[in-house]
Structures are given as C-alpha cells and as structure tokens.
C-alpha cells in the first residue's frame, strides 16, 4: 500500500483496503452464503419482499412519571403514526421496589413510569388497543411479574392470551454486562427467563418473551463483533433453557428476538447485521436442529445509537440519527427506534421524540429505501466485510465457550464485564488522544458552547401520587387472597415449577411488585457483583 494512503482499521479490528474488486469475493459462494431474501441463510433479509411488503415498525422508547402521563405520551405517539410502543419503567420498578420503599427515594417516576400494582398497568394502557398495537416492555429482572401484569390487563381488555402480541426485553444476562438492573443471582435469574419462555410457548405463542440485547453490551463499550458474539452466546443459553423444558425448538425459539445497536462506522454496522443474520440461521439449523425457517430467522430491532450521540452541539445528533436510521434500514431490520437528539443528557422532549419519528417516516416515504430488498448486496466491499465479520464473531463465540467456561460462568465471574470495560477505556482514550474523531467533541469543537436545551423536569409529586395510589389499592384488596397467592408463589419456587401462573394469580389479587419480588428474593437470594477490573 502506498505510504500516502492512511491505514484504516475498523472498531472490529478489521483493516479496510482503499479499493475492493471481484477478486475479494471470489471465495464467497453466492447461492450458499447469500441465497435469496426470505431463504436460508437469510443474509439478505428474512422476508422475500421485505419493506416492499411492509416497512419496518417504528417503536420509540417512551414512558415517564406516572402511568397516567405515560398513557398520554403513548396516545400522542400512536396518533402521530407510531405503530408499536416501547415502555420505559422507572428504576425502582426495574429493580422490583415499590414506590414507598426507602431505596426508591428520589427515583420514583424519574426515568420511566412507576409500577407497583396491576392498577398502574391498567391505567397505563387505558384506551390503548392492545390487540392492535404491539407493546414492548423494557424490563429484565422483574420481567416475569410485569409480564404477568400485562397478560392480566390483556385478559381484562378481552384479548385472549393466545392472541396477545408484544415483546418483553427480559434478557437478564446482558444486565450483568451492561445496564445493571439485576436483582437475583445469575442461575435463578436465567431460570425465571426459562419460565417466561415456556409459559409463552404454551399459552401466549404470539408473544416474544425475550429480546436478547447486544445493544446494551455495545453501549457499555463492546465492539461490534463482541456485541453480536456475546448476544448470540446469551441467546443460545435461553434456547437451551427452552429445550430443558421439553419444548421443541421450533415451538419457541422463533419467538426469541434481538435488539442491536446502530452507531459507529456505516458499512461495518450494516455488514454486522447481514453477518449476524446468516450466522444465527446456521447456529439454529446446525447446533439446535431447527427445521422451520421461522426458527432460523434473526428478527431484530436495530436502532438507538445512544453511544454515538454527543452532549456537545446536540443538534448534530439529528443528523447522526438520520444516518443511523438509513444504516438500520439498509441492514434489513424489522423494527427501528432512534435515540432523540437530546437523549445524551435528558429524557427526550416531545419535540425531540417527534423529530426521531419523522426521521424514520421520511426514510420510508421519501427516500426509496423500501423499494427493493437489500440494495447493497453484491457490493465487493459489503460482501467481503460481511464475510470477515462473520468469521470474527464465530471466533469470539468460541472464546466464550472454550476460554471462559460458557456465558453463564463468564458473566457470573465478571470476565465479560472486565473485557467490555477495558474496551470502553481504550475507546475513551482514543477519543481524548484524538485517534478517534467525533465532530463537535474533539474536532470542529465550538469553544464556550452555550447549551440551550430543554431538560425533562423531575416531579417529586409523582412519587407521592404513586405511593398514595398503592395505599388505596392495598386498602381495597382482599388481604387473605394476597397472602394465599404469595404463599402459593413461594411453594411454586420451592418445587421448582413454572412461576408464571402463580405470579398472575398474585397480580390478580393486586399484590405489589415489591411483595412478589420479596418472595422471590427470599428463595433465590440476591446477586453480589464480582468487581474484577
């Protein structure tokens, strides 16, 4: 290579040549490695006509303060053309604490809606056509009880569980790596996920019980290879959980979906998704003997991009968001969500959330990205890079299994967490030293920047309102029924049975989330984080 040409190395560690040609894809068997869209190995997309038949679903993350305020935002988004909801819960709810718990002080309703009992979920979805809108619940450690609440609300809306659509995030293994909303030790936490997978497979087969999140692993510092490799190692563990319940792989594994991150190098991310789709199909067919195409199809939400947004010159994030949306569309995603331009420092304002929604709508309505499937296919660079990334993901998955004793061990011992933290440090160092460029941050900086942005206010009254509502619920409920339901939940755990039916019974009796979690904590114990930096 000529000395004047700068060397380019992607985050994945892959070196990029200045020019690619036919010789670079000679080794790639097109029929075998690409196939047709909608056919194995689904490199080009999981449907034959992709967005030509139906554009990607738009699902912005929203929900704050009280269930009533969240209900209003949900209605606003639906009225503006959003086709699915993605519900944000406050931290106490995500950690299984009632609003009145002293540990919840100052956090009730701050980053999402506060949920103590069924009454809160009833209020949040009041007037929302949940038989038509697919709802995604962003909960993990408390996924089982919150899913139980949602299912009971569906019953009350007259929607049979066999018809309920939606998704729970419910990926606890990634919580230990990034995001941090864990409660139980790793093994019982994974067992609870098995419960939800089994329950959905048998009772609510249209519901997606788990959305495996490479997203938060990447946001915590992982490179794109690690994002996919760790997510796949996690997903394989959940598949094994389902199999351990004597479910046939084709009866449940197709309901496990993925949530991936979109920031970073344009082509690297697009190829990451094409490679991941191909590899997941092979894993499901060859390792788990899946027979149905549905089981082999990697369904995903590709979006967010929070890690790429900057506090500096925040309007630039609108432009970044538009590129991210384009990357996501060119990657063949099923669902898209975009972080809003103010999201690096606050919960999005209504205006910012609307700009994100419009960004995606402009892409669908004006840019022609829905006209033809996988338009980048056949590009020398794109096919070469897809291949290269797939090989590196395979190597990283082997490392998890062979060097770190499998994903459960690697997470329990904090090995992956340390690996990701080191990577985050290197990236940050690169930014500060200037080897990685970020516009407005370390290049084209505006000195003395005055930030004029609207901050999402925190209303301490929300906590009081939530506490008061739960007190009313508690005084109106039948204490005997609550006690009986909680004791049944305890017995279910002791026997090692599926907890979902007992949780739904406790929910119907208006047991609080904290009460249900206390039963589970007493039986399962709590996680102590291995700090291994």
């Amino acid at each position: 290579m000529s000395d004047q040409i700068k060397q380019i190395t992607l985050e994945s560690g892959i070196e990029v040549k200045p020019v690619y040609g036919p010789e670079d894809i000679e080794g790639i068997d097109r029929a075998d490695q690409l196939g047709r869209p909608g056919e194995f190995p689904f490199t080009r997309g999981i449907h034959p006509y992709m967005y030509r038949a139906r554009p990607f679903t738009m699902r912005q993350y929203a929900g704050f303060g009280t269930p009533g305020a969240s209900n209003e935002r949900f209605k606003f988004l639906i009225e503006n053309g959003q086709t699915a909801l993605n519900v944000a819960f406050d931290l106490p709810t995500q950690m299984g604490l009632d609003s009145a718990d002293p540990r919840a002080e100052g956090e009730v309703g701050r980053v999402g809606m506060a949920v103590d009992t069924l009454a809160d979920i009833e209020m949040a979805f009041d007037g929302i056509p949940i038989d038509q809108i697919s709802v995604s619940l962003t909960v993990n450690a408390v996924a089982a009880p919150i899913m139980a609440m949602y299912f009971v609300v569906a019953e009350k809306h007259g929607v049979p569980l066999s018809k309920v659509r939606g998704t729970a995030q419910n990926d606890i293994l990634k919580e230990y790596i990034g995001r941090g909303a864990w409660v139980f030790p790793v093994e019982p936490a994974v067992k609870l996920i098995g419960d939800t997978i089994e329950f959905c497979a048998r009772v609510a087969p249209r519901y997606y019980p788990v959305s495996v999140c490479g997203y938060h692993i990447r946001e915590s510092g992982a490179n794109p290879i690690q994002e996919i490799a760790f997510a796949f190692s996690i997903a394989k563990e959940y598949v094994r959980q389902g199999l351990a319940r004597k479910l046939a792989v084709d009866d449940f594994a197709g309901q496990i979906s993925f949530n991936f991150d979109i920031f970073g190098n344009f082509f690297e991310q697009i190829c990451k998704f094409r490679a991941a789709r191909r590899l997941w199909a092979k894993i499901m067919r060859d390792e788990f003997c899946a027979g149905e195409p549905r089981t082999m199809q990697m369904k995903m939400i590709a979006g967010g991009g929070g890690g790429g947004l900057t506090i500096e010159q925040p309007e630039n994030n609108i432009v970044r968001g538009a590129y991210y949306a384009l990357m996501s569309a060119l990657s063949g995603t099923q669902t898209m969500a975009l972080c809003s331009y103010d999201e690096a420092f606050t919960i999005p304002t209504e205006k910012a959330a609307l700009i994100s929604l419009r960004t995606m709508q402009i892409l669908i309505e004006e840019m022609g990205v829905c006209d033809t499937v996988d338009p980048l296919a056949g590009s020398y660079y794109v096919e070469w890079l897809t291949d290269e990334i797939e090989n590196r993901i395979i190597t990283e998955i082997k490392r998890v299994d062979n060097e770190w004793g499998g994903i459960v061990n690697a997470v329990s011992e904090g090995i992956i967490q340390a690996e990701v933290a080191r990577q985050a440090f290197q990236y940050e160092k690169g930014l500060q030293e200037g080897s990685i460029h970020k516009v407005g941050v370390n290049i084209y900086r505006t000195e003395e920047e005055v930030r004029e942005v609207e901050m999402h206010p925190y209303n301490p009254d929300d906590a009081e309102e939530s506490i008061r509502r739960t007190e009313q619920v508690k005084s109106a409920r039948d204490p005997g029924a609550v006690e009986a339901a909680l004791s049944k939940l305890h017995q279910t755990v002791v026997r090692g049975d599926n907890t979902m039916p007992a949780l739904m019974e406790a929910v119907r009796a208006y047991a609080t989330l904290g009460e249900m979690m206390d039963v589970l904590k007493a039986d399962y114990g709590e996680f102590r984080e291995p700090v291994r930096l």
Binding site: R103, E105, G106, R110, E175, G180, A344, K429, Q432, L533
Partner: protein
C-alpha cells in the same frame, strides 16, 4: 522520601445501572498512578462511606446518571459529616447539567466532572487538591 499514592474510591450509589463511566474512570485513574477501588453497582450511601473508611481513601468519586445527583450529594455529605470525614475530597461525575454544578459545589462536592470530561483534568484536580505525605 517516597510519596504514598493517593487512594480513590469510585462508587455507584442507588439504583442507576449505568456503570460505563465509573469503570472507565477507575481504569483511567489507575493508569495515571492512583490506587483506585471501585464499589460495583447499587450501593447505599452507608455502604459507600463504610468502604471509604475501610479502604482509607483520600478521594470519593460518585458516578450518577439518573438525574438524582443533588439528592444523593445531600445524603452523602450528611453522612460524611456525621462520620467526621469532612476532609475527604468529594467528586461527582455523570449526567450532570451545567446548571447544577454550583448547587453541588455549595453542598461540598468540590469537583464535578460531567460525562465527556478529560481523564487528565480529573487526575490533575485530584493531585492539586489532595496533599499526600510520605
């Protein structure tokens, strides 16, 4: 004469699970020659102060990204005064709006380093505010 290295505790109080910044700053300060202990997630203020005493640290740095930094600072400073640890250097990092920095300063948080702060700024601030004797 040898100087005792400055000891720093990096802590994550409360329920907020965003620990990327805390871990990165832990590694950066170690890289810069400090002795750094990181608490891990979900610590109560009492637990953090207890670790600070056990580990005999000179600096306590809290990372908060949930927006609850003012309430957390009030609690921490109250507890530190109660335990007669008023001489420790207290730092806050995370998602902290510029408008809140002076409020944190007046509570007794001497250094505030919002997301995106440079490692060398944090290190220099600690060096010039902690006097370590051999």
């Amino acid at each position: 004469m040898t100087f005792k290295p400055i000891r720093v505790l990096i802590a994550k109080p409360g329920l907020d699970g965003h620990d990327r910044g805390a871990k990165v700053v832990t590694l950066a300060l170690r890289d810069a020659g400090f002795e750094v202990v990181y608490t891990g997630l979900h610590r109560t203020i009492d637990e953090i102060v207890e670790v600070a005493v056990q580990e005999d640290v000179d600096v306590i740095g809290l990372s908060v990204l949930s927006g609850a930094h003012i309430q957390i600072a009030e609690k921490l400073i109250g507890k530190m005064k109660q335990e007669k640890l008023g001489d420790k250097l207290i730092l806050f990092g995370g998602n902290i709006p510029a408008d809140d920095i002076s409020a944190l300063n007046s509570l007794g948080v001497r250094g505030v380093f919002p997301t995106g702060s440079r490692f060398d700024e944090i290190a220099d601030f600690i060096r010039s505010n902690v006097v370590a004797y051999g």
